[in-house]
């Protein structure tokens, strides 16, 4: 209904403009005034994504466009249908809104942590996959796309944070974060670099990039039920482990050794490392191209993020990228076929890996490429260590307060009370929803 209404608004305004231009007997000064206004609805119409007319419409983001187009074309040829792949800027929110209005795509491609919000809004359908199909994928990738006991997405890639080091200043493979910081700090003290270890935080903080630190000290966000699902009522920030992590962050922060600082943020963290101004960096596969172009192809090492000495291993968040079937799609049969069969094979997954540049979730493909692309194998190992990022809607209440708590602690706020405050804020928000 909404689409019809907006179309009518457009048609009516064009009609009125035309009538206005023809003018009355007295002439048409209105013409000059009305023309720029009439361009407005056209502009806003093209700004909001409009579903294509093809028999299978897929929405993704610009980075994955080529990869999805390639596998979709193969599927279209096999079935003799037309297919349209559209790059959408705000894929998640636009998809949920458009799907609700009945003019969304048939298939959407995105990260697994969207699932909670998508299910909450009834935007995606569960998939029924056989055990044999599932067995081919990395176990924690399947765990990531499982929500409330149902599988909602077919994963094609996994991503997790890893540790990059500049060979010039930190050439080894390190067993502890202390060793990494010591190597980086030596370079800082020698005046060769400005930062020992870049962890993007900024003034609003970043809970995603701090997760390896939190988990290594024994903290966690949500406790896990025996079946591996997350329990939103069990927050692990103000636990002994979480408080130890807060103390660690304080010691490494601006009031302590000044390794973690608020001046390193999402805008400059990767750039500083790529320019050779930071010894080490915690980041994901997406930083690889910048770093290769910056300090050079052979100037860096990658390894999974190590834990602190004598503590637990660091567990970054695992993110899985997946295909989903829209609940209100017009061509559900082809959408279901595409997701459960069309891309559910080694050939399509290899194409996805080659064009989307993500470590593959299908074990067969991962083994095939391990020798050719050791960097991606390292990232796949980092993902093995990772825990799926919780997809619960409650997670939306976590990012902002926890990030802000990290930023405040780095800036010198009392670690224990700040962490307790973050936990209280989060649990109050979850209870109030």
């Amino acid at each position: 209904m909404r689409s019809i209404t907006s179309r009518i608004a457009l048609i009516a305004s064009v009609g009125m403009l035309a009538a206005a231009c023809s003018g009355g007997g007295g002439g048409s000064t209105e013409e000059t005034g009305a023309a720029p206004e009439a361009s407005e609805p056209v502009a806003s119409e093209s700004a909001a994504p409009v579903r294509g007319d093809e028999e299978l419409v897929i929405w993704t983001d610009a980075l994955k466009l080529d990869a999805v187009q390639a596998v979709a074309d193969a599927f279209a040829e096999e079935n003799g249908i037309s297919v349209g792949v559209q790059a959408i800027v705000n894929t998640r929110s636009d998809f949920i809104t458009a799907n609700q209005a009945g003019n969304g795509p048939d298939v959407v491609v995105g990260a697994h942590d969207w699932i909670g919000q998508m299910v909450q809004n009834g935007a995606v359908d569960p998939l029924q996959l056989s055990a044999a199909d599932l067995g081919g994928y990395a176990e924690n990738a399947i765990q990531a796309v499982t929500y409330d006991g149902q599988i909602y997405g077919l994963p094609y890639g996994v991503e997790a944070l890893a540790l990059y080091c500049n060979k010039q200043y930190a050439p080894d493979t390190y067993a502890t974060l202390e060793d990494v910081i010591a190597a980086g700090q030596a370079a800082v003290d020698g005046g060769q670099v400005e930062s020992a270890l870049n962890v993007a935080q900024g003034d609003v903080g970043d809970a995603y990039h701090m997760q390896p630190v939190l988990t290594s000290m024994g903290g966690y966000l949500f406790g896990q039920n025996p079946d591996g699902t997350y329990n939103a009522d069990d927050l692990g920030l103000a636990t002994p482990g979480g408080l130890a992590a807060a103390q660690k962050i304080y010691d490494l922060g601006e009031a302590g050794s000044n390794v973690l600082r608020r001046s390193v943020n999402g805008d400059n963290s990767i750039a500083l490392f790529a320019e050779g101004r930071a010894a080490c960096l915690i980041s994901g596969p997406w930083a690889l191209n910048d770093i290769r172009a910056g300090i050079g192809e052979d100037a860096y090492t990658i390894q999974p993020v190590p834990g602190f000495a004598g503590q637990q291993p660091a567990q970054p968040f695992l993110g899985a990228q997946a295909f989903y079937v829209a609940s209100n799609g017009q061509n559900k049969t082809f959408a279901q076929e595409f997701v459960t069969n069309g891309v559910n094979n080694a050939e399509a997954m290899t194409t996805m890996y080659e064009l989307a540049n993500l470590p593959p979730a299908l074990t067969e493909v991962r083994q095939a490429i391990a020798a050719d692309n050791p960097d991606f194998e390292t990232f796949a190992q980092a993902a093995d260590n990772g825990n799926p990022m919780p997809a619960l809607p409650a997670m939306a209440e976590v990012w902002a307060p926890l990030g802000q708590a990290y930023s405040a602690i780095i800036g010198g706020a009392d670690p224990a009370t700040t962490m307790q405050q973050a936990q209280d804020t989060i649990s109050a928000a979850i209870a109030g929803s």
Binding site: T29, Q128, N331
Partner: protein, 544 residues
């Protein structure tokens, strides 16, 4: 950044054309008439064309509105009466469609709980909850699928022709259940039924079309076990069972395996309900849209966290808007006065340089400035030899925002002040100096009042713009710094960035509540603008 709406700086429309049209009148009145008839016919035709679709959707309000517009257009343009309306109607209609309608929609949304988890109707939510609980029956076979019909390919009646992927046994399935097919009943190629005597098998595209909403295959299932059905998934079929049963009369969902009964209960937030068991566990995170009256407004005024945020943010928004307009105006005016003096050499060069910040797109400038304020890697600290975390504390962050906005906005003020200064006749100043006024007195008593007559409306517009200057805040500080205790309201948040965070921010979208804040913001901006225009009117007294 201060950008006035473009119509304020657009030169008045060229009046020469209508005059020439008037002069040419009488020589050719046929063409305009034909154009008019064709276009009005087009409007009426379009209205007729879309009416059936609207009637089918039951959108009676839109049908009424559409035809009211058509009637108005016909009445105004097809007759010779109502000449003034011929000019007013197009603008008024645009006003209604693009200004009044969105405002009404926002007001309407503000009386609902629309947001994440409440987008659908209750009916749709129940269907989704039941549908999402369906799981494959353990150890049940999965089938390849062909669909056959003895009627039309669009509306059936349909039969599923299934082949067990493991054993190769073939079945026919319809609403009655499954029947095993003998070797002569169907031809099977590569594990798929490819031919059935007397039955038309659908192509893949036909299956897809029939499965669309309203198609004959939509919701088609074959009863299999006691509690299970065989359902299509792509071009295969699986046997599913759902433990949940909805009782419409009692409005409860029962889990037939555990016996747990879920009833709709209000959540702590008060604006939505969930299916909840007696012990308080929720069946799912899905709720549904409801009209909740004025509750969003009540919340805006009574929730202690929000109302205290609202007042402090409102005060800072005022300070930000006044500070931005004031600082840019005074710097722009001072520069304009200096540059307007004939004794300054190289005026053109200076003026071009001063306009440079105005030429850089605000989006880029703000992102660059955000980097400039960085403590360790930023230009400001580097140049001044300071070690201040500008954006990390509320006070310095506000100062940084104001300074950045000054840099972004003063060229605009310089531009309009220069224009206004040059339009003030020199003999007025001359007369004042003959009366014995010194330079400052001349400026204070003669130049400034005349200047304000021209500039004051632009200052009001600039104030309204800065009052809602979302970009300046979002791109520079994202509203920060925040305290961990209050993640929704940051130190540099203005009302519009705060509203944006409520509606589309990190946490779950609360579009209904954000609409209520928008309505309050709309009223507030309107009142402020009205008061300011009233005040600027007194400036025009100098002309009397």
């Amino acid at each position: 950044m201060t950008i006035a709406p473009s119509r304020l700086v657009t030169p008045p429309p060229d009046r020469s054309r209508p005059r020439s049209t008037l002069a040419g009148r009488g020589t050719s009145t046929v063409l305009p008439l034909v154009v008019k008839v064709v276009l009005l016919g087009l409007v009426a035709g379009l209205a007729i064309a879309v009416t059936p679709a609207l009637v089918r959707d039951g959108s009676w309000v839109f049908v009424g509105g559409l035809w009211a517009v058509v009637v108005v257009l016909l009445a105004v343009y097809a007759t010779k009466r109502a000449v003034p309306l011929k000019y007013l109607v197009p603008g008024s209609l645009f006003l209604v469609v693009f200004v009044v309608y969105p405002i009404l929609m926002t007001a309407q949304l503000s009386s609902t709980n629309y947001g994440d988890g409440t987008r659908g109707t209750k009916e749709a939510t129940v269907t989704r909850i039941i549908g999402a609980s369906a799981v494959q029956v353990p150890d049940a076979p999965s089938y390849t699928l062909a669909v056959g019909t003895t009627g039309g390919v669009a509306d059936g009646p349909f039969t599923f022709y299934l082949v067990d992927e493991a054993t190769g046994d073939a079945f026919a399935g319809d609403a009655e259940g499954l029947t095993e097919l003998g070797a002569d009943d169907a031809t099977i190629t590569d594990g798929v039924v490819t031919e059935v005597p007397g039955v038309t098998l659908l192509t893949r595209s036909q299956i897809n079309d029939a499965g669309q909403a309203g198609g004959g295959l939509e919701g088609f299932t074959v009863p299999a076990g006691e509690n299970s059905v065989i359902r299509q998934q792509g071009f295969s079929a699986v046997e599913l069972t759902s433990p949940l049963v909805y009782d419409e009369a009692a409005d409860t969902i029962t889990n037939s395996e555990t016996g747990e009964v879920y009833t709709p209960q209000r959540a702590a937030s008060g604006d939505r309900s969930y299916f909840t068991a007696e012990d308080g566990t929720r069946l799912s995170d899905q709720s549904w849209g409801e009209s909740i009256g004025l509750q969003n407004y009540v919340r805006a005024f009574t929730d202690p966290a929000i109302s205290s945020d609202f007042i402090s943010i409102f005060l800072w928004t005022l300070l930000f808007a006044v500070g931005s307009v004031g600082s840019t105006f005074f710097l722009g005016l001072a520069l304009a006065v200096v540059m307007n003096d004939d004794r300054v050499r190289g005026q053109r060069l200076y003026r071009s340089l001063i306009l440079l910040p105005y030429a850089i797109p605000g989006f880029i400038a703000l992102s660059i400035w955000s980097g400039f304020w960085n403590r360790d890697f930023g230009l400001v600290n580097d140049l001044l030899g300071l070690d201040v975390n500008w954006l990390g504390q509320t006070g310095t962050a506000r100062l940084a925002v104001l300074l950045t906005n000054l840099w972004m906005g003063f060229p605009y003020m310089f531009l309009i002040c220069t224009g206004a200064l040059q339009s003030i006749p020199g003999d007025l100043k001359e007369a004042a100096s003959l009366d014995g006024a010194n330079g400052f007195m001349q400026f204070r008593k003669v130049v400034l009042p005349l200047l304000l007559v021209a500039v004051a409306p632009l200052l009001v517009a600039s104030f309204a713009f800065n009052f809602n200057n979302f970009n300046a805040i979002q791109l520079l500080t994202e509203g920060g710094p925040f305290s961990p205790a209050n993640p929704t309201a940051g130190g540099t948040d203005i009302l519009i960035s705060y509203t944006y965070r409520l509606a589309f921010g990190n946490a779950a979208q609360q579009i209904g509540f954000a609409s209520a804040i928008s309505v309050l913001l709309f009223i507030l901006t309107g009142l402020l603008a009205a008061a300011q225009f009233r005040a600027t009117r007194s400036l025009e007294d100098v002309n009397r």
